[in-house]
Amino acid sequence: MNLSLLILLPLLTALLILVSKQLAQIRVIGLVGSLAQLGAAGWLLKLYMDQRAAGNAATHLFESNTVWFKALNINYHIGIDGISLAMILLTSLIVVAGILVSWTMEKLSKEYFFLLVLLSMGAYGFFISLDLFTLFFFLEVAVIPKFLLIGIWGSGKKENSAMKLALMLMAGSALVFVGLMGIYYNTHTFDMVEIGRMGIALGVQKFFFPFLFLGFGIFAALFPFHTWVPDGHASAPTAASMFLAGISMKLGGYGCLRMAALMPDAAHSYSWIIILLATIAIIYGAFATMMQTDLKYINAYSSISHCGFVILGIGMLNKTSINGAVIQMVSHGLMTALFFAAIGMIYSRTHTRMVAQLGGLLKAMPFISTVFVIAGLCSLGLPGFSGFVAEMTVFMGSWQNPDGVYRIATVISAASIVVTAVYILRATGKTIMGPISDEHALLPDATWNEKLAAGLLIVGILIIGLAPFLINQLIMPTTDFLMINIDKALTLK
């Protein structure tokens, strides 16, 4: 299969949305387009697994390499491995769910759907890129739609949040750019596969790794550059929050992982800083969440904490921990998207997100409340849901690192789960249980589109939670390969 299809499908959808006239038409095009993406991603999974089963051991499948800017040695080099495929599947699921929950969006709907689809195009392009320049290009393609989505359709102090988010992410990409320049002028190529084969000189790695890791780290809400997350998520319209937490933050995590694999020596020598920052993010995020009264802020701060696990897993640099980081990315993507969808459904009915003003929603809207509880339980890591699998794997991987400091970091991070349980149970308890106020008692339950969106995400969460071997089967061979390279680099030294 030609991977460019993953970029062309959203592009085509976006163009069709641009020329269509009526609201109904726009919605249908958006939905059909996103379903086509989901279909393509599913088909890709099947083809990928078939190839692997047939014994194709190449690192990247469906590779294609076209010269883009010949003079500068920039190529449109695409291909996927297990990790990128997992991310593509995650993206396509969230896009469908996001389009479904925005079904009733009526303000400037054409522009809204156009930007959503454009954002997804950036994400797909990012995940399939094997050329650093192309990767960077798609990373930035995904930034500006976020600015407009939050600024135009958001709520609260939306302009400020949008500006803050755009500027911080742009600062992140500025750092990434400097790192790319450093790599380019030392290896004379942007091709990740080629760079991986050649290796990068130790001095160069040590100098430019911080630029790249911090740059992508800003996207992944790395402490202390997480400040765009709460405001951005809280101000964004529902689907944009879902995209932001579910897809956009994963761009950062994925980028960090790729950079660590590309520069294992530097990643190894800076790992204590990475782990320190990740542990702070995990603990700080968890405690900050406890203080929040707004449901969206609760989920946004808990995202900082959860994304900390991704960084922690990458920083530990061993097979199990990296596996855990990838599963955590997928799981967190699905789980926060579900959470934001549920919050959006509640907000659109009650017009408040304050925990104190809600209560007893289970009586009026049983479906939405159930979704809310599922998202919450997944977030606190209840066995059976994806969160448990992901966090457990990260902890197991982290524990394998015998040094004292790493052990302490692992213990502290694991302890955050208790805090998570406190805020999740408190928030769900207060909103779902107890007496319901009169004005909320007669509110309607979820509509078909909302049920479908939530159902899709829940299926994803359950598949990972109940049958973790499926996702392991997908990503393990790839992490194995990454580890061979990383170990080789580390033992040579």
């Binding site: 290009f137 500006i144 135009i152 302009e159 755009a166 002028y185």
Partner: protein, 469 residues
Amino acid sequence: MSSTIFILLRQELLLSLLIFLLLFIKIGKERSNESILNLINILLFVNLASGLFGMSEGGAFNGMFTTNAFIVLEKNILNLAMLLISMQSYAWLKNHKQLAEYYLLLFTSLLGMFFMISSGNLLMFYLGLEMSTIPLAAAANFDLAKRKSSEAAMKLILSSAFSSGILLMGISFLYGTSGTLSFDILTAHISNNPMQLFGFILLVSGFAFKISAVPFHLWTADVYEGAPVAVTAFLSVVSKAAVLFTFTSILYKVFTPIATVWYGVLVVLSVATILIGNLFALRQDNFKRFLAFSSIAQVGFILIGISGSSQTGSASLVYFVLIYVFSNLAAFGVVSVVSALAGKENISDFKGFYKTNPFLSWVLTIALFSLAGVPPTAGFFGKLFLMMAGAAKENYGLITFAALNMVISFYYYLKVVKAVFMEENEQPIQKLSVPAITKLAMYICIVGIIITGLASMVYDYIYSLSIGM
């Protein structure tokens, strides 16, 4: 021999022909403005198209005038910009009495630029430069009823005269130490001789005035604000581009022996230019002043690109200028239409613009995104390639500085986008009916912004020509 001169100078001759035609139009019988404008736009299109066919290489007038494929390309870019500006000032010129004079002045200036770009000799270069500057001062005074316009013209002519003086002094030092004005001979005589270095610094200052690099930028904002929008567009795009082309070719051709000196000079200039341009752009409310300061910052990025090696440096410069023509002229086009039809020029007037004028809003937004360097617009590639060219010297401090300054520039470009899309206005600009020809110019700009970046052959073509430089 004589026929080759015609071929070599065909772009200049064609432009001279246009100037004569305008004179006849002026003294001929009374015609409606619309018909003259249409005629001029068609002629400008022919002028642009004729430049695209057949490359010629060679010199004339004892090497005072040289041309090659790269120079022809540079002139074509200027022709394109001239055509776009003309198409976009339709609404403004439709009711203007001195229509012919306006074009006369701009064409003469453009002709001067052509000679300047093609100069193979410091004298020819100086003649071209003066020929391009003096008509511009008159053009800046074209809003005859406005005092600000006269002020702009006065400032422009005084600061130009001053910078020309400095430039001439630099030229005379160079002449005094080497005994020649010809570029080819001069380069053999250039060394680290203090007198020559002083002459070089003076020459660079003269250039820096014209491209409004900090600390020689002080005239820019006032002149841009006072002059009519079309003239401002011409000043900020065409005039700057022409001087940059010349500056680059002189740096690479003549001053290669002291490359380390000019690298240092360029770094200092670019850091100051980017920083000051950005910081001042942050607080502007007048749209023309805003674009003036943002264009100062853009020049800073261009200087970084030039500081790299000659081939990627000049290729990325010309590539960026081409993109800059599309993006800046799209932005100026919107400002020009709004200024001509609604009489408003402040950013705060653009609040809620999207509700009344969605088409113009999108044009403005895409143009600003391109200026800011957001993909998938061409500005992203233009700016990155400039920085890549500059990074060849492996001065990562400079690149980090520039990259972080791009973030500052995002802030002020996004601020305009925010006003257009997100903010409310009690008295929004009414729905404007854009003339068809202006709309066409905007479509050309948008297509240019999208195609020039993604289609790599544009860059590859420019790069392949820059080898010949």
